[in-house]
Structures are given as structure tokens and as C-alpha cells.
């Protein structure tokens, strides 16, 4: 899920839950059935879960674009770090006695 997708997912989750709560309360109050309110709200939560929790394809419409390497031959910072670590290891090794 990309950054835009995460934002969309969070907003969808909030609106869907608040919307189903509103519908549930009004229906329950008008039909004067508390059980009806709870059932509708529970259905709303399940729908929200299915809609916003899995990594659906519409959450991945804005993939991150990395900038091009300025100098492709230059070793990456990771490679440099590895080299430094190896050098340090070598230096730390005790010299064999003659």
C-alpha cells in the first residue's frame, strides 16, 4: 500500500464507520429496535473491515518514484559501509606470532 493509499484507507475507514453508525442509530430509533441498531452497525463494521483493511489494488495507484542515480558507478552507501566493517574486522584480528 502506498502513501496515498494509506491516507485513503484511513479516511474511508472513518467515514464508513461514522456513516454506518448514523444509519444504524436512525433506523433503530425510528423502528424503536435497539437490536436493529446493533445489527446494522455490526454489518457496517464488517463492510468497513473488508473494504479498508486488505491491500486492494486501488490503494496502490501512486507508487513511489525514486530519482535516478546521479553516478551509477559510485558505490552505494550500503556497499561503503560493508567495506568499512570488513576493514575494521581485519584490523581487529590479532597478528599471528612469528
Amino acid at each position: 500500500m502506498d502513501w496515498q493509499g494509506q491516507k485513503l484507507s484511513e479516511q474511508l475507514m472513518q467515514y464508513l464507520l461514522l456513516g454506518s453508525a448514523l444509519i444504524a442509530f436512525l433506523t433503530g430509533y425510528i423502528m424503536s429496535s435497539y437490536r436493529m441498531m446493533l445489527t446494522i452497525y455490526l454489518i457496517g463494521v464488517v463492510i468497513t473491515f473488508l473494504f479498508t483493511v486488505p491491500d486492494w489494488s486501488f490503494f496502490n495507484r501512486h507508487p513511489l518514484e525514486w530519482s535516478e542515480l546521479k553516478n551509477p558507478d559510485m558505490p552505494s552507501s550500503r556497499q561503503l559501509k560493508l567495506r568499512q566493517q570488513q576493514a575494521a574486522k581485519k584490523a581487529a584480528k590479532p597478528q599471528p606470532k612469528r
Partner: protein, 168 residues
């Protein structure tokens, strides 16, 4: 919102918060409800007025309990606890309350009550103050909501009097 578990957690926690808000709203909606219960209590007969061996007075009454509490029910009402108390004043105590009868009403259809019967619980005074005593009959109903606090309604019917002599 970067992972499945994180999003699932977010839906469930926000979902429960909204559910709590729904319950609070539902219990608030009860305060806009006004009920007009129709209540009538009568003493059809004083069957017995006697002094018990321990010196206390006891009365046995035949009551006519007629009440329509259907308008008390709302969508947020779990059940009603209805009881009738005899209330009277003596020299020693300003208010004496004796519960004579009670009923748990779980459904709106059952909230229309029309009964003629002897008091369910003994009308016993802690002393010998019942002869010629004037008393009130009060019907109380505790409303137990599905969510929210219990609240109580009552109606007082005045002007009942016990006979001035023991019947046995």
C-alpha cells in the same frame, strides 16, 4: 496504516469508540421520552387486621392493581421493576414504607396490569401502629435501560385508612 494488522487494529478500536458513542446517544434519547402511565390502586377489602404474637401489627388487604405502563417502554428499555408500597406516618418515624407487591415486566405487551389479589408481602408494622392508620399506596417503577442508568417513576394514591379495631 502501513500494514494489515495495523489497519485491522485501527478499524476495531475506532469501531468500538463509535459503538460507545452510539450507546450514549441511545441512553440520551430516553430523556426526550415522556410517558403517561395510567395507574389506579384500590383497597377492595381489609381482610385481616391482627396483632401478631411478637407484638407487631399485621394487615391483610385485597388490592385492585390497575396500571398501564406501556408508554414507559422505549427502544432502550430492558425491563421494568414495578412495586407497590404502603406508606404511612407514625409518631416515631415520619415515613414507613412496606412493600406489598411487585412484578418484573420484560415486554411492553405485559405492561398492562389488572389484578385483584391479596398483598404478596406481609403488611407488618414494627410496633402496633396500624389500627385506624391512614396510609398511601404508591406505585414505583424502576426503568432498567439496555444502556444508561436506572431511573424511577412513581405515583402516590392517598386516602386509605385501616379499621380502628382488630378484626380477630
Amino acid at each position: 496504516m502501513h500494514s494489515f494488522v495495523f489497519r485491522a487494529n485501527a478499524v476495531l478500536t475506532f469501531g468500538i469508540t463509535v459503538l460507545a458513542a452510539l450507546c450514549i446517544l441511545a441512553s440520551l434519547s430516553d430523556s426526550f421520552h415522556s410517558s403517561l402511565p395510567d395507574i389506579n390502586l384500590q383497597v377492595l377489602n381489609v381482610d385481616v387486621l391482627q396483632r401478631l404474637s411478637n407484638g407487631n401489627d399485621e394487615a391483610k388487604l385485597t388490592l385492585h392493581i390497575s396500571a398501564d405502563l406501556r408508554s414507559v417502554f422505549t427502544w432502550n428499555t430492558k425491563q421494568l421493576f414495578v412495586f407497590v408500597a404502603a406508606e404511612y406516618e407514625t409518631q416515631k418515624n415520619q415515613l414507613n414504607q412496606v412493600s406489598l407487591w411487585d412484578l418484573i415486566v420484560e415486554r411492553k405487551e405485559d405492561a398492562k396490569i389488572d389484578l385483584r389479589r391479596r398483598n404478596k408481602y406481609g403488611f407488618v408494622d414494627q410496633g402496633s401502629n396500624l389500627r385506624g392508620r391512614e396510609f398511601n399506596l404508591t406505585m414505583y417503577w424502576n426503568v432498567m435501560p439496555l444502556t444508561g442508568g436506572i431511573f424511577t417513576g412513581s405515583k402516590v394514591l392517598t386516602g386509605f385508612r385501616l379499621p380502628s379495631e382488630y378484626t380477630r
